[in-house]
């Protein structure tokens, strides 16, 4: 019997890294909602102050494209300076041209790269390259896991439903699938159908060992072999269908945001059951 298989934690920490060129949109101590913006790409518009000499060839309000001439030097050797980005001229002073809506530093035009919070949480820390969020959650300690950590909505689909190859389960794209057992047929099918994570109650050791982790991250709840699902845990997970959860392969756990310890799991103890 294991006491610590399932734990409710007031503060589960989530570290979200951000790349150079992004700026935080939240403050320490701020309570944020799932989907709220955490960082966004710094647009060059704020820095796009281009010093010029000679005469400006654009006027305020002009929408310019890459290649458009911004200014031209006068004299014997004239030189044209062209825009490298799409932008709008907002101001022209004696020495500088100001642009906005410029191309992002990632080169993706006006599409902004954004990072949003997967969960309702509190901003604990903002560091140079990452932000630490905290939220209360239930953590289920996994037997094993491999692959990259993933956040997605949860769906329970028993293995038997994958046997009808002509009518495979639908709407599993971008979801983390929980199932009773993974077989050599189920895993590739889930991968093909677009699941982003798979959590199985049990799996044969050799199949687990041979799974290519690059395809879809895998978590195992109970253990190797063919093991019975724990009814209490199963019911809890089925009740959380479509919740956004975190398959945290770094620390071998499934994290499900909860405000408090679910009543059904209060005195829960895990016991391994062979089928």
């Amino acid at each position: 019997m294991l006491n610590n298989k399932v734990k409710f934690e007031e503060k589960v920490y989530l570290e979200v890294k951000y790349s150079e060129g992004m700026v935080s949109k939240v403050n320490v101590g701020e309570k944020i909602k799932s989907g709220d913006l955490l960082f966004t790409q710094i647009s060059k518009e704020e820095k796009q102050k281009i010093k010029y000499t000679g005469s400006a060839k654009v006027k305020v309000g002009d929408k310019i494209s890459p290649g458009d001439v911004l200014f031209e030097t006068s004299g014997v050797f004239r030189k044209k300076t062209v825009s490298k980005t799409e932008a709008e001229v907002t101001k022209i002073s004696k020495t500088s041209i100001y642009l906005k809506n410029a191309e992002n530093s990632n080169g993706k035009g006006n599409e902004r790269e954004e990072v949003r919070s997967p969960f309702d949480s509190v901003v604990e820390k903002i560091l140079k390259d990452r932000i630490i969020l905290s939220f209360s959650a239930l953590t289920i300690s996994l037997f094993e896991s491999k692959g990259d950590p993933v956040f997605a909505n949860l769906k329970y689909i028993p293995n038997i439903k994958f046997k009808d190859r002509k009518n495979p389960p639908q709407n599993i794209e971008d979801s983390i699938i929980i199932t009773d057992k993974l077989t050599s047929e189920t895993y590739p099918m889930l991968s093909t159908l677009g699941a982003v994570g798979v959590i199985s109650n049990s799996i044969d050791y050799y199949l687990y060992r041979d799974i290519i982790i690059l395809a879809v991250p895998v978590g195992i709840v109970s253990g190797f072999g063919t093991l019975k699902e724990d009814k209490i845990l199963l019911k809890y997970l089925q009740d959380r269908e479509d919740f956004i959860v975190w398959l945290d392969t770094t620390y071998n756990r499934l994290v499900i945001p909860e405000k408090k310890m679910p009543v059904d799991l209060k005195n829960y103890k895990f016991d391994l059951k062979n089928e």
Binding site: N4, S141, D204, Y206, F224, G225, Y251
Partner: protein
Amino acid sequence: MQSILSIFLTDKYISALLIKADPFSVVQSYIEKIPYEFDEFNAKLTNKKLSKIIENFKIPDEYKNAQRIISASSDFIPLDINIDYILEKLLDLIPYPIIVLDHFSNKSFLQLKEDEVNKYLNSKKYDIEVSYLTRVFLDSAYMKEYAKNHTSEFIDQNEIIITTMPIVGSKNKEYLDELIKTFADEIKIAGIWKFALDTTLSFVPLISAIVHLELNLKEFFDSQPINSDGKLIVAPGVEEIQILDENKKPTGESYKLETESINKFELPEDKSVIIKWNASGSKFEGKISGSDIGLIIDSRKRNNAK
């Protein structure tokens, strides 16, 4: 009075010996299953947890200040505990073959059948006792490798120490019997070997203490005969053994051996007999003492047996 509490850590058990330094003597021995669960955030064993376990050892007051020394296998070193002696290095110093069977830290499990591998790995993760049969299989697999890789040592050494975790169900004799038979399967030379079975993992802390006190290991082991828990006689091609009296004259008593087989005879540890055999390629006459599990006589021919 110098005293030492010599501790050996495995991923399941903590064994310890309380030792008086001069004259060297073992005051008490301890073995405890680690009572803590492991999860991804809490180590199963830490310095603090180890101290709590040791608090439960009933150490006599006069030894409360015994110096602690800690040994561990190189694949089980808790992060915040200072290890004084690494098992593998200690074993290199010992003039006797010592086989440490901690089946949770060797790779023999890959030789188990598919479903047994699953059960074994679940047991390992959840601290569930593996079945007796699985354990015998795993430890025999290790013994097989050991016997194969250390054959040259067994020409000169006829005492073998097996140190392992407690065996559930009072099956020590059956367990040793299986390991000796596995050893016999692999050993290619004729000879007589005595086996001592320690199921409290106490040989490792013993060796650590001897090394720590800079005592002469060979002198120590020569002066302390090991228990005779099992005895193996490899007598290739021998069909009959005769019993002789004190004057080495035949008593008329003789025993037919099953050819090409492993034969077993009852002979307690405190009894001995003078035996003789004469077969093509193998002759012997001498006194043989018994063992806790009697005598195991292997009459199977070896291709290169002398």
